[in-house]
């Protein structure tokens, strides 16, 4: 009998059916992947098990007994916990305080600080983490924060842990650490559900996979008896091709960007490279290697950077976004919700934002011209939304990313820097973004692409630059691409 089973679960949010009669069984001591496109309902299912949401219909059975985890606290008491992206902690308190938040060791209302620290420390040791319990949570990296969340789950004796896209902002090394930890938890008999977009990880660590599509159950299969193509087909109904980009058959043009000895203390040191017209240059490295920081500096958002940046052979001043934009540089930032989009604004307002002065002769916005140009663009990018007036907050991740990209395609640019262009994007939109980048490169734009997904950089790039701890450790040309060679330079 399954350790935990959800039976005929339905959940409706205002206007959208997130889950429709879904049944899944989780076997004890296994890692069970929940897969699906954005909006397929996998996160919703995880949150229902962890008591974040209450289902409209259906039952949850734990060891055959019906349970009702109607809020996260009750779920915790039942041994059901969730590790997710949005931090459930207080950033200004220390790791120890956060870990013990629900059960502060106290006497007569006063906190026993020594006991608090000791307990937190032993919890962290239990999961093999050397984080200092006195560190304020805000100072930890995302990976470390996740370790703390897991420690907290272990601390509450969780029998089932749901991981909701845990690796989407982790470096490869941090992910490795997470997987080791999951293996150990598995040995201890902990049941796990793993929600992720990353096929590689799922096929590596999971035992079973359940695919959801549009809130409906599609299939549950043992990992051994399925394969990627099959899973992707189940997810989207069509296979995503990873074909060779077309720009590779064209000759790259003149040098667009040349960076010489770019340094920003504490972020990256003496980085030098160039990018030519009509090529995609990949940038690989672990989180914290200084990739995004380098990109941010090239785009003029780091005033402390030193060194030389040349655009088409002409020197550009450091720390001036407006000059970077005048020199036709576009930048798709890593975190679209934080830096890529104004979520409360419409699609059209977002797309035209960097060019609003261009659309406004004499200071007044020429709405008609703005709309015509943006409509052309969103059609080309196949943005799916009710209208150009739709607020971007309501769009799916893939469509949001397309809008964020459209911002830089609205006018010609010579250099396009894309930082994690397909993060948190479903398979279908991913393929579309790959095609788009290829197309843009074919049109003669120089592209610098940062990505944590090695298959992605390896498929799209002509050359790959590798950074490690702020230093450029190597440049690999396409003929020599291999996971081993790149990983060797990264770690």
């Amino acid at each position: 009998m399954a350790f935990l089973s959800v039976e005929h679960i339905s959940k409706t949010f205002p206007g959208v059916k997130a889950l429709d009669d879904v049944s899944v069984e989780f076997e004890k001591g296994t890692i069970h992947a929940l897969m699906g496109e954005n909006g397929a309902g996998k996160s919703t299912l995880g949150k229902i098990i962890a008591g974040v949401y209450t289902p409209d219909k259906g039952v949850i059975k734990l060891d055959g007994q019906e349970v009702k985890p109607t809020d996260p606290r009750i779920a915790q008491e039942l041994g059901l916990a969730i590790v997710h992206q949005e931090l459930a902690f207080c950033p200004n308190m220390t790791v120890a305080e956060n870990l013990m938040l629900g059960s502060m060791p106290a006497k007569a209302g006063f906190v026993n600080w020594n006991k608090l620290r000791d307990r937190a420390k032993s919890l962290l040791l239990e999961i093999g983490s050397d984080i200092d319990p006195d560190t304020p949570l805000a100072q930890l990296t995302t990976g470390q924060e996740q370790m703390v969340q897991i420690a907290s789950c272990v601390g509450t004796n969780a029998k089932m842990i749901i991981f909701d896209e845990p690796t989407s902002s982790l470096s490869t090394r941090e992910s490795e650490h997470l997987f080791e930890l999951m293996e150990r938890l598995k040995e201890r008999g902990v049941t796990m559900a793993y929600v992720s977009h990353r096929m590689d990880e799922i096929f590596r660590i999971c035992d079973t996979i359940t695919v959801l599509r549009d809130g409906k159950f599609v299939a549950t299969e043992a990992i051994a008896s399925t394969n990627r193509g099959r899973v992707i087909r189940q997810m989207v109904g069509h296979e995503v091709l990873t074909e060779r980009p077309k720009y590779l058959d064209l000759q790259p043009g003149e040098e667009i960007l040349r960076v010489e000895n770019l340094t920003s203390t504490g972020k990256f040191q003496n980085v030098s490279f160039n990018v030519h017209r009509g090529e995609i240059v990949g940038m690989a490295g672990l989180v914290g290697a200084g990739r995004s920081e380098t990109a941010t500096a090239i785009f003029g958002l780091d005033r402390n950077a030193k060194g030389d940046i040349y655009i088409k052979g002409k020197k550009m001043s450091i720390g001036n976004v407006n000059e970077a934009m005048r020199r036709q540089i576009g930048f798709l930032p890593e975190d679209r919700k934080r830096a890529g989009l104004v979520l409360g604004m419409s699609i059209s307002d977002n797309v035209s934002l960097p060019h609003i002065d261009h659309f406004s002769p004499l200071g007044f916005v020429d709405r008609k011209r703005e709309m015509i140009e943006i409509e052309k663009l969103t059609k080309r990018l196949r943005v799916k939304a009710p209208s150009l007036d739709s607020i971007t907050a309501g769009l799916s991740g893939g469509n949001q990313q397309k809008v964020a990209l459209a911002k830089w395609l609205a006018r010609t640019c010579d250099l396009l820097i894309v930082d994690e262009p397909t993060r948190g994007v479903d398979v279908g939109a991913k393929a579309e973004i790959y095609h788009l980048l290829d197309e843009v490169a074919c049109q003669g734009v120089a592209i610098l692409m940062i990505s944590s997904e090695l298959p992605e950089v390896m498929n799209l790039s002509r050359r790959i630059l590798v950074l490690r701890e702020g230093f450029l450790t190597g440049e690999v040309v396409r003929e020599n691409f291999s996971q081993e060679a790149l990983l060797h330079l990264m770690a």
């Binding site: 205002p14 206007g15 959208v16 059916k17 909006g39 599509r213 549009d214 087909r233 989207v236 109904g237 069509h238 785009f299 958002l301 976004v321 407006n322 970077a324 934009m325 930048f331 930032p333 934080r338 830096a339 890529g340 989009l341 104004v342 979520l343 409360g344 604004m345 419409s346 699609i347 059209s348 307002d349 035209s352 934002l353 960097p354 609003i356 002065d357 659309f359 406004s360 200071g363 007044f364 916005v365 709309m371 409509e375 969103t378 059609k379 196949r382 943005v383 799916k384 939304a385 009710p386 209208s387 150009l388 007036d389 739709s390 607020i391 309501g394 769009l395 799916s396 911002k407 279908g428």
Partner: protein, 388 residues
């Protein structure tokens, strides 16, 4: 097949001020119905062209002053009176809305209003009642200029020190009013050129003072055009919606904020000019507590303190609603003391209504998005089955 992105069509749900207008109409109807009628002295234009009391002959054959019975609320005099009372707040609320859209707040508007007014008064007063056009222009320019300058200082400090606007303007609220007090020793300054006062107090018909009303409408129109039609207006919304993303889009966030505070100061300066002309004096105690009324008007008008949301027309209508309630209580013979309580309740109710409206809008969007999603999915499925 892909879903085409149509260009936006006009949709009544996208006219957020519609609700405010409805509230104003309902309030007006209620006041007209429940306010009852009142007897007002009747005037007429005499043979010499001057205004004089109309007389009637009573039963005893004596000439007595005539009265006319009018609706207590729905008569030209009361309506213009409300409009005039509204104008000071509405003008400042338009400026405040711009600041609130950037995600900021300006607690010092009342103090800017006072210091601008006192500065103008100190320029105008020495010319005395016989002062001419030069004096008037000088006074008006000073008042508005000081307002804008004080606003600029707010914005510059907020940007340069990177301190929350609440703190900076809490400080300048005391500083500006303090300077006004020091300048005048707490005395009221009056004795302005007659021409200036006559201009501001100009009446279209007896008792119908139109200048504040017209200035209020002009400021609202200018603010509306600025926010909705100009590139800078778009940037104001972007900065309030997401400062980081704005910076990543090449917007000079600091300058946008400085401009917003400058415009709020400018609006306070314009309101101060009207008050100088209308009341004929300026003192350091002017506009005490106005900041709260002005912020309330902006919020009732739909501006969100989180930033990114608000309109100039909303600010005007918000101010009108608050003033109608305040005057309405008098019309309904409810003690004036209750007006603060009612206004407080209205502010909270307005925000709750706005939240409800946002939820409904989100629901509508979700319905449309999920319909599109289904369409896309079925298209993908049919494409997949046709390739098999």
């Amino acid at each position: 097949m892909t879903t085409t992105l149509g260009r936006p069509k006009f949709d009544f749900s996208k006219f957020p001020e519609g609700g405010l207008l409805a509230v104003i109409v309902v309030l007006g109807l209620l006041l007209a119905i429940f306010g009852g009628s009142v007897q007002l002295p009747k005037f007429q234009i005499g043979p010499d062209g001057k205004r004089e009391r109309a007389m009637v002959t009573n039963a005893a054959g004596q000439q007595v002053p005539a009265f006319e019975t009018v609706n207590k609320f729905f008569n030209a005099r009361t309506l213009v009176q409300i409009a005039k009372d509204t104008s000071f707040f509405a003008i400042m609320a338009v400026g405040m809305t711009i600041v609130i859209i950037t995600g900021g707040i300006d607690l010092s508007v009342g103090a800017i209003y006072a210091l601008a007014s006192v500065s103008g008064a100190l320029i105008l007063s020495p010319y005395g009642p016989s002062g001419g056009g030069t004096a008037t222009v000088l006074g008006v320019v000073t008042t508005i200029g000081v307002g804008a300058l004080l606003g600029f200082l707010n914005g510059a400090m907020i940007t340069a020190f990177n301190v929350h606007p609440f703190i900076i303007t809490l400080g300048t609220m005391a500083i500006y009013r303090g300077i006004a007090f020091v300048q005048t020793n707490g005395q009221s300054i009056g004795g302005f050129p007659d021409g200036f006062r006559a201009f501001v107090r100009w009446e279209w018909l007896p008792d119908l003072s139109m200048v504040p009303l017209v200035v209020m409408l002009l400021v609202t129109i200018a603010g509306g055009i600025f926010l909705a039609q100009t590139a800078i207006g778009r940037k104001v919304y972007a900065v309030g919606g997401n400062e980081v993303a704005s910076r990543y889009s090449g917007i000079r966030v600091g300058w946008v904020k400085i401009l917003a505070y400058t415009l709020t100061g400018l609006a306070a300066g314009i309101a101060a000019v009207l008050s100088l002309g209308y009341y004929g004096a300026g003192s350091s105690g002017d506009g005490q507590g106005y900041e709260l009324n002005v912020i309330a008007a902006a919020v009732v008008g739909g501006a969100s303190l989180i930033g990114g949301k608000g309109t100039a027309l909303g600010a005007l209508l918000g101010a009108v609603i608050l003033q109608m309630i305040s005057n309405g209580l008098v019309i309904l013979n409810i003690p004036q003391n209750y007006s603060q309580i009612v206004i407080g309740l209205v502010v909270i109710a307005a925000v709750l209504l706005d939240q409800f409206n946002a939820v409904m809008a989100k629901r509508r969007l979700l319905v449309r998005t999920s319909a599109i999603k289904k369409e896309v999915a079925s298209a993908a499925e049919s494409a997949a089955s046709s390739t098999k």
